[in-house]
């Protein structure tokens, strides 16, 4: 029996409000008012606002691999953003234990003018690695990406496949406890994909926790312990127990 204390990610009645409006003149004013009054948030929806997540409760145990499924806009990526602390819940509580490596969009931290090596340092430190850790791992990262010949070339000259391979290699070599994959498994050729899946297995055998978002339910079934299906920001089908 798994208890709550084992869980590395806990969502307790989490709500997240987003706005459809482009100009958010109110939001800064609201933040400052909340700062002074100490009030948390408005519970009601103003014009153009909607609940991206409503009343999400879930807990993920260390070493588990959870798949998030659902249509576009069902709240999958929002959950990942909340876990990685990019954004905050409007209501409710989130507890995350351990270092998170978000592979939410591969290559977000890459700069086109910098070479592969330079981008490894850039992207690696963004993912929370120290310079020293990176120096130690750089050989592995380059070997995994299979880009030895191109590693000193500015990444703007890479093909999109090479670009993603480099980004993925950096991410999976981070010593994080929790890995977040958002639609990133469809990267590279078959050979590279099988290496990625092997790497995921390795992470799991090291007791790493993984959250995968994908439309591809076949892949999810293959690698995940449990699949959570989201619909309009709520859990439609929960964790199998």
């Amino acid at each position: 029996m798994r208890t709550l204390s084992d869980s590395v990610i806990t969502f307790q009645k989490v709500w997240k409000k987003y706005s459809k409006q482009q100009v958010l003149n109110n939001s800064l004013r609201e933040e400052l008012v909340y700062m002074i009054t100490g009030r948390k948030c408005r519970d009601d929806l103003a014009e153009g606002e909607f609940w991206a997540l409503n009343d999400i409760c879930m807990s993920v145990v260390k070493g588990q691999c959870i798949g998030l499924a659902g249509h576009n806009g069902s709240g999958k990526s929002t959950i990942l953003k909340l876990i990685s602390n990019v954004t905050y819940p409007t209501k409710g509580e989130i507890k995350v234990q351990g270092r998170v490596a978000p592979l939410i969009e591969l290559g977000a931290g890459m700069h086109p003018d910098l070479t592969g090596t330079e981008n490894i340092f850039m992207n690696g430190t963004i993912l929370g690695l120290s310079i020293r850790e990176l120096k130690k791992r750089i050989g592995d990262i380059v070997a995994f990406s299979g880009l030895d010949d191109f590693i000193n070339v500015p990444v703007k000259k890479y093909s999109s496949g090479m670009y993603l391979r480099l980004a993925f290699s950096i991410a999976v070599h981070s010593p994080a406890d929790i890995f977040l994959f958002d639609e990133v498994l469809a990267v590279g050729d078959e050979d590279f994909q099988s290496r990625c899946l092997k790497r995921i297995e390795a992470i799991r055998s090291n007791n790493g926790t993984i959250i995968v978002v994908s439309h591809d339910s076949e892949t999810l079934k293959r690698i995940c312990d449990d699949i959570v299906t989201l619909e309009h920001g709520a859990v439609a089908r929960g964790v199998r127990s």
């Binding site: 003149n25 800064l28 954004t87 978000p102 910098l114």
Partner: protein
């Protein structure tokens, strides 16, 4: 404030290094740009005010006078200019990964500081070349430099955060920086200003900093202590307020950017 940065100190270093690389990659004269910009401004001012307008002046060379003012100004305007769009321009990072957001504008302050240090080396050479007598009052330069950096950080954080919400800030800041340039004694000395206006000008910390940087290095004079106290208090207060607000509203950046 510092402990949250300490965990991410390597990221800050890499950001500084990245900006430095991007800046001087594919340039032919590289770091010389750091000197070229203030030196050309200095020569321009010397030409306009010394040769064309023939303004009366202090008893030391124009070049020294203008360089002393142009250098800190270049640092301040360079850093704030970088900061304004630093967060909104890096939205792909901000909406994807968490790290203390101030790292991006701070890295801009840091690279401009490196340029400033290179410029200061030239300034010291210029002082020696003009045989300016060196006095102990030179040491006042250190607290002035610290004040300049703290003030620049505050304004950078403020502009960067505001631009996340209102893109007007970018448009306004270009204009405001021009305005501030003339409100700061760079091309004139505060000594030449009527007393009525002095108080108003001193509300701008840059006035105090830049005027006194000139005073303690070229003129060998000391600092008026109560002025230093008041300005320092103002600058530090502004720093804590802006940083506190920045940390508070930072968590919403990914949602509004």
């Amino acid at each position: 404030m510092f402990e949250r940065l300490y965990v991410y100190k390597d990221l800050l270093l890499v950001f500084i290094w990245r900006e430095f690389l991007i800046r001087y990659k594919q340039t032919t004269i590289g770091v010389l740009w750091a000197i070229l910009q203030p030196v050309s401004l200095m020569l321009l001012f010397t030409f306009i005010f010394g040769v064309v307008l023939q303004t009366t002046h202090k008893n030391y060379p124009y070049t020294l006078f203008y360089f002393a003012g142009v250098l800190p100004w270049t640092f301040f305007s360079g850093a704030t200019n970088f900061a304004v769009t630093s967060l909104s321009g890096n939205f792909n990072l901000i909406t994807k990964i968490y790290f203390p957001r101030e790292i991006i504008p701070l890295s801009g302050v840091a690279i401009n500081f490196i340029d400033y240090m290179i410029g200061l080396a030239v300034y010291i050479l210029l002082l020696l070349f003009n045989q300016v007598p060196l006095t102990w009052n030179l040491l006042w330069f250190i607290p002035l430099l610290a004040m300049l950096v703290i003030y620049t950080i505050s304004i950078s954080l403020l502009l960067a955060a505001l631009n996340v919400y209102y893109r007007d800030v970018k448009l306004a800041s270009t204009f405001l920086l021009q305005f501030l340039f003339f409100a700061t004694p760079i091309i004139y000395s505060i000594d030449a200003v009527d007393n009525r206006w002095k108080t108003l000008l001193f509300l701008n910390p840059l006035t105090f900093i830049i005027e006194n940087m000139r005073r303690v290095t070229i003129e060998g004079r000391g600092i008026i202590l109560w002025q230093l106290g008041a300005e320092l208090l103002g600058v530090v207060f502004l720093y804590f307020i802006t940083y506190k607000i920045f940390i508070k509203i930072e968590r919403a950046f990914a949602d509004v950017i």
